[in-house]
Amino acid sequence: MRKTSRIEERFFRVLMFFSTAFIAISLLLIVFSIVYKGLPSLSWEMLTQEPKGGFYFGKEGGILNAILGSFYLAIGATLLAMLIAIPVALFINVHLRKYKKSTNFIRFLLDLMWGVPSIVYGAFAFGVMIYLGVRTSLLAGIITVTLFIIPIMIRSFDEVLKTIPNGLLESTFSLGATLSETSYRVVLRQCIPGFITSILLSFGRAIGDAAAVMFTAGFTDSIPTSLNQPAATLPLSIFFQLSSPIPEVKARAYTSALVLTVIILLISIFARYFSRKYEKNKIRF
């Protein structure tokens, strides 16, 4: 009995170790294979030029249109989402703090929304666009991605705001501050480190998403100069290039994937860095 239980313990510990290692190795494998395949075609031209004629047959040009398009889209969507997510998150945690039942209900609803796949948002937005008779555009893409990241952003802000102690609110109210002054001048400030991380992660979600933008932002070889022009995005550019039978184009798909991976890794590093840097004004309770 003793012995079998010891063997069992051994067995499962080894199994656990391997499954943990498996996850670490998967990440390495993903990053390595993208770098290995993507690096050969990486060039300055690739990053700084728009697709020229015949680009999709392996001729000259780059993916600047998609890189910029993605950034425009992700920045626009992140800012727009913040405009709604920050007030909502503060409202739930400061104004509605005492109404436990309604805040729990709102949180539950947001959690439900969190799980809705981006393709559903994309299809919904496309339906609305048909109804309104508008064509694909950067603006439509931004709005769709905004809808998609709002629940993610609010819940992520919310987790940060939950840590605010009642004592800080009491102190601020005692100074005669109104609810909005308390929210924006004190609570928001206390939570900036956490918020920056949340914002960067939402930005990462926005820049990496393909399904919500394929119906709404469209695709184009030129760099959009206004909100009502269509815009290319990196994920779609990767997807389209990869489905080409021409080896040069396929190789560029890998390079584009490398670019997107690097952007995502940088975001992750920034998120860590900023949250550490802005910790200093934060009061630990």
């Binding site: 239980s5 010891r6 069992e8 313990e9 199994l15 656990m16 499954s19 943990t20 996850i23 670490a24 998967s26 990440l27 494998l29 993903i30 294979s33 993208i34 395949k37 709604i84 007030p87 909502v88 409202f91 104004h95 539950f108 439900l112 929304m113 799980g115 809705v116 796949p117 981006s118 393709i119 559903v120 994309g122 299809a123 919904f124 339906g127 609305v128 048909i130 609010i154 109104t178 609810l179 909005s180 002054e181 929210s183 990462g204 820049i207 990496g208 998403d209 393909a210 399904a211 394929m214 119906f215 990196l234 994920p235 990767i238 997807f239 990869l242 994937a257 991976t261 995502i264 890794l265």
Partner: protein, 299 residues
Amino acid sequence: MGVLTISRQVRNRLHGSWMLISLIFVVLLPFLLGTGLYIKSANLLSNHSISSLLFSTEWKPISGKFGLWPFILSSLWVTILAVLFAVPICLLTSLHITQYAKRWVLSLMHPIIDILAGIPSVIYGVWGVLIVVPFVADYIAPLFGKTISGYSILAGAIVLAIMIIPFMLNILMEIFKTIPEELTEASLALGATRWQTIKKVILRKAFPGIVSAIGLGLSRAFGETIAVMMVVGNVTRIPYGTLQPGYPLPALIANNYGEMMSIPLYDSALMLAALVLFVIVLFFNFASRMAIVRLEKNL
């Protein structure tokens, strides 16, 4: 002073109203989504019965036949298989990280899980095309004496499994962390080994949480679009094996949006597909979240 106070109060009101408007908008969003998709698919629903749409296997848009069953079935295959792959790995790893792991393993694994969770779907797709599809074609299929391209339900499930691992892992780790340490200590003090404690105390206590983590993983996997679409083959046919190509619901929507305007009712059919997706995902989400709420109440 009086004027200033008034302007402060006005500002407070304005901020408050904007907050309230935003909140109402956010709360209405799911209903908006559902209603919008329903209105768009109503055209089709008025001509066909819902069961004939969901369970018919014939998908011929040109002759007005919109049977979603092959797609629903493909989605189920891919999703369930992916969850089957991911669950044991997530369980073992989350137990390792929360119960056994040393500090350096933690500080290594946390960024790894975060990065895995942040990698965009399309990158997983590229990786799938590069590694998983050839792997299935060259190593798995020959085991069953078959020659295939590798674009298959199995490839989709493997890619999807890797994608949902960080997601489920995070939830499971949260759940294991909520189990009070005193409980573990009490069990250890009774002379149980660490593994016996995990088996008899922790897993039992966390069981509802584990079920809901699986439910959430399932709903996450069900809606995943682009990565799966890139490796699954996209052939409209009832799949009868994991090495066959499949055509999940999200891929159907994503692949056909371009041409759907030219054929009558086609757009309605795709919106219906999106609605089905929405409802299924919400259902899984709802059930799992409810289970988690229960679990938190019991602790």
